[in-house]
Amino acid sequence: MEIIKKRPRFFAGIILIIIGQSLFAQSINEIKIKEYYWGTPLNKVLNDFQKKYGLKIQYDSTVTSKYKFDDRGRFYGITTERAFKAICKDIPEFSFHIDENEVVHLGYNFILEDKKELMNRKFTGKPTKENVTISGVVKDKESGETLPFASIVVRGTTNGTTTNVDGYFTLFKVPSDTSAILISYIGYRTGTFFLSPEIELSDLTIKLKLNSTTLDEVVVVGEADELMETSERVSVVRMSPKKIAKLPNIGETDIFRSFQLLPGISGSNESSSGLFVRGGTPDQNLILYDGFTVYQVDHLFGMFSAFNSNAVKDVQLHKGGFESKFGGRISSVMEITGKDGNENNFNIGGEIGLLSGNVFTEIPIGKKVTVLLAGRRSWKSFIYNDIFDSFNESNNQQNAAPATGKAGRIQESTTPSSYFYDLNAKISYKPTNKDIISYSFFNGLDDLDNSQEISRTRNGVAISGGISDITKWGNWGMSAVWSRKWNNMFYTKTLASLSNYYSNREMTNTRISTNSAGETTERKRGSIEDNNLKDYTFKFDNELKLNKANQFEFGIQGTHYTIDYNYTLNDTISIQERNDNGNVLSAYLQDNIKLFDRLTFIPGIRASYYDVTQRTYYEPRASLSYQLTKRFKLNAAWGQYYQFANRIIRNDISSGSRDFWVLGDDVSVPISYSEHFIAGASYETKGYLFSAEAYYKNLSGLSEYSLQFAPTFNNVDFDEFFYEGSGTAKGIEFLVQKKYGKYNGWASYTIGEVLYDFPVYGENPFYANHDVTNEFKIVNTYKYKKFTFAGTWIFATGKPYTEPLGGYSVTLLDGSTQDFLNIGEKNNARYDDYHRLDLSVSYDFKFGQTSLGSIGFSVFNVYNRKNIWYKTFEVDEGDLIETDVNHLGITPSLTLSIKLR
């Protein structure tokens, strides 16, 4: 922690001051302060307290000497306790407590619960123990929420660990019981605290304070204001959900969109909030929300992701080479930890933007139960309409909706309606400080309705009915988790979850006519497509931390899938009825081996038995990091990965949804496989991070689905339309990050290539649709007083597309002509380069006692670059006409958010 100094440091050492005599036999709470302080050095204030009121105060004068204090009239006549509260409110990194001897302890914010003494100063005595093991939990100071994946390091060494998903940690081989421990967590203030022989080392509670963006009236400003953090682990990166709200947006803070700003993740996919990680596709990413798999992350055609950032505590992304405890996907893992809710105080807040409204509340019930509820729903504004119209147009273009009448006939007018919403709920119960029982629920839906209704009477015949054109997709899922930290060494987590993804596409035409005799005739034509995936999972994960050198993780996982895909025509004809059922039973074991304080080696293996193919799949994996010097680190990882449930992208989307999930069977739908090789190096100084990482991936069992014809009249074997292919993805990512300060951010450059080889498209490999050669991204944030300015700029090579060689017409038997395009080699051309600048400014304010607010203004695509989304071609009057369809142009948006605390 770096502190802006107001005066030179007079004391080189750390001096413990305990002054104060019990001049009056008065309880501390009976003492009233009768002073005014205006810009007074804090040391003088504390001195005054001791001298004039006989208070016993324990503090580190070298620390307090850096601060001044204004009481602004609050002190006169108030109790000592309230006076210290006021000091700690103005100096947020300070906290105090009064012990049983009525000594006030004031200092940095690391509080040990259960009246175990906080040591924000070095213990002056001699250590009583050497080579100790410490263990405990890291929490948010205000809300009491546990902080997952926070880093804990013995100061001045490389000996460290991270908390697990429940905030628990165990750190071995701490030199002594007076060592200094450095704790950091993204978005929170990093700092040091000191062990002491007086505290219980096996049951620590460490409370970190959020690096508040609101104005502090003291002179110290926050430093560890990271938006993004690369982890100790190879290819793992996290972003602070609290900080991403400061980035430019299109009306909605979005976690997935923010991750698209990181190296190795494609940032030019405006029409998908999914992540294309190192040449992978979004369906190859394992998205875990509180332990359950989420199969679909898109809202509004992919413009936004389905996760409400107000309900999210932590997000980390494993870009590749991930560990054995994760299975079932071949590209990356995104681990999202939902907020538990404030343990101490009721809280409510919300946001209103041009796209949606968002409300959340945190309700502590007693000391042991917390409840979090968050909900979001879109509402129609010009931004929503812009986005909706552009996607709806492309959808209709692709879907070539069955026309219902011919030109010249009466046409009914239609106003499409659509909305999305999502809900998050989480209940956590902590019966003891070793057990956490939680239940998490998530539900999201997109509903798009282009239907029209008919209701009229002609010549005594009443005609009703209409055209249904409905697209609905959504998720719901839930998990129940019991985790227990049995002791310093052993932790278990038991999870049962259910996840459901559904997609429904209905395009039907209904006519109900009732004649004067009251006879009714009903007729229904059109297609209904239904995809319903259910995933029932049981997981039992264990952490066994034997010692510093060997920390095992092992567990089992069982998943039962049912995936239905039904395609029905004209009410009765079932074109396809796929009811896939499958079970995957997996076991894994990995060991986190630390050698010589410099080398971390994590070998692991995962074995999965898949009953559909009746085979066992072995996935050996390993990662290695070597701390060459204190600043310079080398990384490598390797692993093999299998995927059993596949999302199939339809190559022709004649009249259906764009994708659907099926289970692989290794006959018609292959089991996807990939092998990752990763090597990298990073150089980290106090303020900067430089890193480079190279990856190479072999991919096989990729599948694509192409219905060259939408079959009408026959039951057909749809299995014939799955095409299998393989591929390679490779690239190098470079990153420079300025981690701290008023100005921080990063610049990244990725050079990459994704080649696919599908025999159906010819002998030669071709660039995959999402291949991007060069991608440069720069992300900046600058804090000035209550304002935060942010700017992002993305440059990416244009994506490949298949350009037609030419067009021709054929005269049909009735004399009409049909136009055709003759296409060339798959993905033989590229769109123009993509680039885009987004800017934002937000203003933070306080109101009431504790309430916080923020107003944000963003401009998306500031210089209105016309980035091409896709092209259309038509044969017209003996010529070929090419039309560009562009992504969103310049779009401003405004967001107001407020919360009680």
């Binding site: 026309a403 350009e803 071609f873 003996g878 010529d879």
Partner: protein
Amino acid sequence: MMKNVFYLIITVLVISCTKEDISTNNDTTDVPVVQSYLEPGNLIKVKLTKMLPFVEGGNSGIQTIDSAKVYINHNGNDYLLSPINNSRGEYESLDTNLRITPNDTYKIHFDYNGYEVSAITVIPIKPVDASLNTTVYYVDPDATGPGSVTQEPIIVSWDNPDNSYYIVIVEYLETSYNPINENLDESQFDKYRNVSTDPINDNSINLTTRQQLMFFGHYRVILYKINEEYVNLYENISQSTLNMTEPLTNIDNGLGIFTGINSDTLFLEVREL
């Protein structure tokens, strides 16, 4: 444009979807387009044009291939076609020995820029037992329009034991404009005079006053038995780079269609009630 009509047609599956390889032709922009329908009782006619290449600056209309030596091979004999005077790019067979016979195989071949363009087709048999459920159809003009199902439709039926594909073309034989529904746009008269159904491998199809029979008067109803390569023309074509698919064709080293058809003709009159 008939294209709009075809968009509403959900077309038929073809079991084997092979893609034609035109890689033997090095110039990928100079590609011949063949159009020929072989029907018993008619002369063989072939139309040859060039694909419109996708080039900067655009094209100046469709170009024909006028001086090709086009052969039809039947029963091992090659028959040279003659260019038709005043019809550029069109060829016909004047040889009376070349007859179009059901169940026989025909091959077209010609050299183009040094490679052989060819295609094979088999002539289908004439539809069996084609019939209409009535030859005079009475319509109340006040009870028509979208949503009207007050009348029994006209049913065209035939035998189809082997699930072959058929289409029905309805031709309005009157010259005067006499629509059943007054809302019909008169400028579209020519477009609605000849109407085709989508390919179907059923044994009957309904004709309605909404889709096919839009005028009072006499109609010719032609039931065609068609081959797979014709069905392929009804593929859902995407013109967008989001999902571009290659059209199917049975022409080797070229594009277009060379296919046998066979038909039966029925007559129908639509009268005002």
